[in-house]
């Protein structure tokens, strides 16, 4: 039987183009991944055949649309091994998912004297919502340190930091800047011992490796569709049922109430309680399709593929003069992040674009971490299922040309 890996690049129509006269080398997957034909087709088919507003509809299209939407919820729940579809709330993406937890759970449960434990490697999306809820509730923030350029969490400091005052521990699964894969199951187990609720930012892991929320043992897990071969504007929050049912709504309005009077209202249970207004059902259907696509490739195999490319790129780039690579030298997620001593990341990215290579340069929404490492910006190359070894050759050659232009011969 032919493997879907055999013609993987043909599945992604966008890859077949020239940029600045060169074949596109797309290495900005940590920002957003490209979309396969099956996902684009699922969205197209939904709008062409099934579109109608979901829930309460008594006509055929509305019932069909509702079935597709709730089918997508069940598909996403199975994808992360949640106990029930009701544990999956559709959101706009990781940022909205974390805002939902911070605002709803945090607002109802945090008090003065409580501690919110984060790590120094958090993306702004898993940092700023906690800052705001800390200001609102009087809780304080505490950060688990990163060891330095190798970019690991300092687990030796965890016992000291994970005191009974810690009510919530929020951390990323894979760092979008360092490529570090954190030991999430261990972190959850240790948090549980002090009774802290755990929140995982899975934006960089969801499309790249198997994820089983019950094996990990987390309370909440947030992710975006567009970083897992699906469309923009859709993502999800997983939450344990018992926690969700005790949480107040995040936004209020239609679709989430069981009864409304002029002066008070009653809420539906999860997931409807957290999905006020017409939900983004069409994009949810596309998210379900991307789950099918990724499982057809095999998520363990995706993890190996992306990790192998990232390690190969790391080793090749390490030969370049004046380069500083950050993140672990061994096992890492599918990205490399680096800075040159005398060429700024934005100049590097501009030169790479000239070679048809899409990279990202900047602080990657990780300003506190950058400051901690004494950097203002890095260049990031991030890989996905369609990237190939030859694209690492192109990347390295482009870096050599750039260094030569700025007078730093390789």
């Amino acid at each position: 039987m032919p493997s879907p890996w055999d013609r993987i690049r043909d599945e992604f129509p966008i890859l077949n183009q020239q940029v600045n006269g060169r074949p596109l080398v797309y290495l900005d997957n940590a920002a957003t991944t490209q979309k396969p034909r099956t996902v684009i087709a699922a969205l197209d088919r939904f709008y062409a055949q099934d579109n109608a507003n979901v829930h309460r509809g008594l006509h055929a299209l509305s019932m069909r649309s509702t079935n597709h939407y709730e089918g997508a919820r069940a598909r996403v729940a199975a994808f992360i091994n949640a106990e029930a579809p009701e544990e999956v709330i559709f959101t706009r993406g990781t940022t909205e998912s974390i805002n939902l937890v911070a605002s709803s759970w945090g607002g109802a449960n945090l008090r003065k004297g409580d501690v919110i434990l984060l790590t120094e490697m958090e993306h702004h999306s898993n940092l700023v919502p906690w800052q705001v809820v800390a200001q609102r509730t009087g809780a304080t923030l505490r950060y688990l340190p990163v060891t330095g350029d190798e970019g690991l969490l300092d687990l030796s400091a965890l016992d000291r930091m994970l005191t009974p005052e810690v009510k919530v521990f929020a951390f990323t699964h894979v760092s979008n800047t360092l490529g570090t894969i954190n030991p999430v199951a261990e972190l959850c187990a240790r948090a549980r011992k002090v009774g802290a609720v755990t929140v995982i930012d899975a934006a960089q892991s969801i499309g790249h490796m198997p994820i089983d929320v019950r094996a990990i043992g987390c309370d909440f897990l947030a992710f975006s569709g567009h970083k897992m071969a699906s469309v923009t504007g859709i993502g999800a929050l997983y939450g344990r049922r018992a926690l969700l049912d005790a949480m107040p709504p995040y936004q209020v309005g239609g679709g989430m109430i069981s009864r409304v009077d002029f002066f008070e209202s009653l809420w539906k249970p999860s997931p409807e309680r957290f999905e006020a207004g017409t939900p983004n059902f069409a994009d949810a259907v596309a998210l379900g399709a991307s789950c099918d696509f990724l499982d057809s490739l095999g998520r363990q195999r995706i993890r190996e593929h992306d990790g192998r490319l990232a390690r190969a790129a790391y080793e090749r780039l390490a030969q370049l003069p004046g380069i500083r690579l950050i993140g672990p030298a061994g096992e890492r997620g599918g990205l490399v992040s680096f800075a040159f001593k005398s060429v700024h990341a934005h100049d590097v990215v501009t030169f790479a674009d000239e070679d048809g290579i899409a990279l990202r340069g900047g602080h990657h929404c990780n300003q506190p971490l950058m400051k901690r490492l004494g950097l203002t910006s890095t260049v990031r190359a991030s890989f996905y299922v369609y990237n190939e070894e030859r694209e690492i050759d192109a990347l390295v050659a482009s870096m050599q040309r750039t260094l030569a232009f700025f007078g730093l011969e390789a």
Binding site: H344, D347, T350, E354, G361, H363, S377, F405, F406, G407
Partner: protein
């Protein structure tokens, strides 16, 4: 290398990036302002010693790409000795150059930034230090940012 890219990275720019002029703090500065480019994290501090309405001394500190560093360096050489009104006028001309690529004949080295207009994402790199300098001149206590309609 494409014509656009070699227009962007002209020798004047590379030279100022490699050997920035007027870098560091002026001990006698009586005005300063900080600028941020939130989209890339670039930062720039500009220090001025105003003598009446005239810029007697000017320097900068900061980190950023070749375009931003060269622009800050070149700006200091152009603004020294200018009045606040002359500086505002010069910025207007510089802004015209980086956004349209049209280079007035008497623009000296600032004309080297005409190539920026072909790279819209880099215009903010070129204007960051100017925003900071003008804020320092105006005595504006709010840090300059490239995220404004004035870009």
């Amino acid at each position: 290398m494409s014509a656009e890219l070699s227009d962007l990275y002209q020798n004047v720019i590379l030279d100022h990036n490699r050997r920035p002029r007027n870098r560091g703090r002026i001990p006698s500065a009586n005005r300063s302002a900080h600028g941020d480019n939130p989209s890339c994290g670039d930062q720039c501090d500009v220090f001025l010693r105003l003598d009446g309405d005239r810029i007697a001394e000017i320097s900068f500190e900061g980190s950023g790409c070749a375009i931003s560093q060269a622009s800050a360096s070149l700006m200091t050489t152009q603004l020294k000795g200018k009045t606040a009104a002359e500086a505002e006028k010069l910025y207007g001309q510089f802004h015209e150059i980086v956004t349209t690529g049209k280079e007035p004949e008497d623009m000296s080295d600032l004309g080297a930034f005409a190539g920026v207009h072909a790279f819209p994402a880099r215009i903010k790199c070129a204007t960051l230090s100017w925003h900071a300098a003008l804020n320092a001149l105006r005595g504006d206590p709010v840090p300059a940012t490239t995220e404004s309609h004035l870009d």
